[in-house]
Amino acid sequence: MGADSKLFWVHVESPAFLAGVDNGYWGLLQEKDTVEWPIVLIWVKAAAKANCSDRYGFRFDLTGYPQQAPTACPWDTDKNAPLDPGQWPRGSKQVAKVFNPGWRRNALYAPCDREATNGHDQWRQVHRGLWWESTFTIVVYLRFIHHLLNSDDYQNG
């Protein structure tokens, strides 16, 4: 097991991650021994919304974690394939920006996403608490997604 995956599993045992699991905010979609590092599947709870799932699966690529930021995209856990763009979370403001399959289907437009930070140095200041740092854990990314999926923007967008 490499240093990146060792640290990830340490973070999965942290009170911050476990509190999210106990609160029903998120959880692993796989047993530890079925994870094919650096890919990890995690679900995140979403607020109740007509014709929408109450939780979304995400495929995280954790290459170089936590020195490098994660990158993630919505994942169809039944088909084990990227989620159809028509089923991505919808909103009218921030949710529409972050969950934008028209931008990328393999990443989220977020300051904590490895793919999105390229070319967005201005986010370093504006989104200081989300701009990925090597001291961060996966919980920073999960809280960001969970907040959006339970926001007024998502529920009414």
Binding site: S14, A16, L18, A19, Q94, V98, Y109, H120, G129
Partner: protein
């Protein structure tokens, strides 16, 4: 025998950290023992406020977990302040309110948007920030985690978080 006692885990929040500690204690441990296991101001543990998450009244330190209604993976808060004085600034106007240290910021935010007469989307878009910070505070953080004894107060700014854009 002591070694055969069933163990439970309890999230313990307190001063100085936004994240809780997860302590493992015997299921018949008293609240005082849980606080001690979490390292909560051991020199004055008898004087600590110990309360359940989002509840205003302190619990009896000598009560075992089950008597206090604290179960496996429940959240409690230990603090030297019995009340936290919260000050919220919005558009140049300041409102103040006292909260139990156990109260999560989502309740402080609801109180603040109500006090400033914000409704609907205007209220839903708001978040609490520490002065000078650009990162919105998570609604699950306990207000007591942001205040220290003997000051027992914390200041917030109420604002809309910057959108991810550009």
């Amino acid at each position: 025998m002591e070694s055969e006692k069933r163990l439970v885990q309890v999230y313990v929040h307190g001063e100085g950290s936004r994240e809780p500690k997860l302590v493992k204690v015997p299921e018949d441990a008293t609240l005082k023992e849980v606080a001690a296991a979490a390292g909560c101001h051991l020199e004055r543990v008898e004087e600590l406020f110990i309360g359940r998450q989002d509840e205003d009244e302190p619990m009896n330190h000598e009560h075992p977990l089950h008597t206090a209604g604290v179960g496996h993976r429940h959240h409690i808060h230990c603090h030297r302040c019995r009340k936290i004085h919260a000050l919220v600034l919005y558009n140049g106007v300041q409102k103040e309110q006292e909260f139990s240290p156990t109260v999560r910021l989502e309740r402080v935010l609801r109180w603040a948007t109500h006090e400033f007469h914000l409704q609907g989307h205007d209220a839903a878009d708001m978040a609490l920030f520490l002065p000078g910070e650009l990162t919105p505070l998570d609604g699950d953080v306990h207000v007591g985690s942001l205040a220290s004894f003997p000051d027992c107060r914390v200041s917030f700014t109420l604002a809309v978080p910057a959108l991810v854009n550009g």
